[in-house]
Amino acid sequence: MNEGYLLIDFGSTYTKLTLVDIKQELIIATSKAITTVETNIMDGFNKAFHLLKQKYDEKEIKIIKKLACSSAAGGLKMVTIGLVPELTVEAGKRAALGAGARVLKTYSYEITSDEINEIKQMQVDIILLSGGTDGGNKEIIIHNAEKIAKHFQSIPIILAGNKCAHDEIREIFNTHKIKYQVTQNVMPRLNEINVLPVREKIRELFMKNIIRSKGMDHAEDFIDGILMPTPAAVLKASEILSKGTDKQDGIGDLIVVDIGGATTDVHSLADGYPTKAGINLKGLKEPFAKRTVEGDLGMRYSALALLEASGEKMIKDYLSLENIKEKCSFLHQHINFVPKKEEDIAFDEALAKVATKLAINRHVGHIEIAYTPLGEVYNQYGKDLLEVNYIIGTGGVLVHSRNPDDILKEGLFSKQEPTLLKPKNPMFKIDKQYILSAMGLLAYDLPDCAYRMMKKYIIDKWEDS
């Protein structure tokens, strides 16, 4: 009998199961059912599990481990507080996004009572508090710690600011009996970003507290662990695919585009240093594994926001149509709509193109030209992704599209916008079996197996055809 891993994604809409034979490195079966957070998260799971069991022979494979990720019940909601918007605020936001959180809002400088009230309205799961380089400004982060301590007794706090302020803040938090975790500064030196310790703390808190507060602890009796938020699993999978493991080399720099109903996520796995000579790298350094989330670019709930972001004209570049606004509001209201008619499919593809283009434009770095007496000089902000090897698409619209490459092509470098550092000549791949998040979970235990499976199912398979 072969051994299997059951990988579970408690998604915002569907609970998706993937059964993997870890010896043969095969996907044995997949299934899904509507996620049930209102009643008991296990109802939806059991339904999906029941469906799954009809697709494989229980005598052939024994499930030895069940691992899950989750974006159910609104995902992991965070706000981050830092000092200067372009520096520690941005660093904190990047760390939280990389941990798979939804960053509802960021705050800078001294937080005000109005801002405190705003945070109170938002039902956040974790607050990240940073500010100051090590040895730098202490005053503001201590002020903000005091404000938080007075108002948020029940929300867990992650403290990742100027280390020289940590002792004082610990005292404040202890006096107010705050639940908090301390870790390394998210920006220890100017423009140097240190996201990994914060990410790991977020994941720990997610496993320990958040699961319970979202009524998902029922699941823990049956499942070995809900390890991380779903986007963190996707990022983890992408990272393994790009970098490889101790034993095997990865496939190199890549971008993953994940177009969903409410958001479009872009993950880049690349250092993003300038690929041309004579360019100055400016601003905050970028993490190798970077995730951005576009809350206004989505296929359903965010269809209207997408229209607002792009304008009708941009959609019309892809599809000549008159009632664009109507169509977008229909999709906004019918978030489970599945297109069947040719014109609806075409409209979805047009929206997906817009989402891809705008989301990648916002994700990649850009060049700014300064004109000097000597001529032009070039500054690079963000990542240079010109030479990235692969763009990988995932998410319903891409997975089901007949022409996914046409959608992903919108992520390419264009001569019309030469300052945007988008890939020039990548290969396009599609996560047809929808396995990225499952592979991120598997990678947690068996990185080599996960790497080879992604190579097999996402990269190589489509090169032959």
Partner: protein, 138 residues
């Protein structure tokens, strides 16, 4: 280490990089914590760096002659950013050509600089002044 943090860099569209490296080295050797924003830096780059690092002085280089234009409003922006009374130094070749330095100094003082250096002044002179202004014991 003397516990004092100095933000250094070259302001505006100025690419002269050599002096900046030397200043970084000299200040570090003299015991300062140096935060270098590099060449082609805007006023905001200097100010943001100073806020996060709680700097004691912003020491600006300008070599290509446009320093006066590049520094307009910097003291006001520092005040705005909460950098009350932070020391502002400037040196290099801060204006075009040879001008009466008394005049130049006065104009830069009006912009809010605490110390202004004519061309040819080495960074060592600046270090001596920093020690005085920041009351660092020898």
């Amino acid at each position: 280490m003397n516990g004092k943090t100095i933000v250094i860099g070259v302001i505006g569209s100025d690419v002269h990089a050599v002096g900046n490296k030397i200043i970084d080295y000299a200040l570090t050797n003299a015991g300062f914590n140096v935060v270098n924003v590099g060449v082609l830096s805007t006023q905001e780059d200097f100010i943001n760096a100073a806020v996060e690092t709680n700097a004691d002085c912003i020491l600006i280089s300008s070599l290509y002659g446009h320093g006066e234009l590049d520094c307009q409003g910097i003291r006001e922006k520092c005040d705005e950013a909460g950098l009350k009374d932070i020391l502002l130094y400037i040196g290099g070749n801060i204006v075009v050509g040879k001008q009466d330095f008394k005049d130049v100094e006065e104009r830069f003082k009006k912009l809010g600089f605490n110390r202004v250096y004519p061309p040819g002044v080495k960074i060592e002179a600046g270090i001596e002044d920093l020690k005085k202004d920041l009351e660092i014991k020898q």
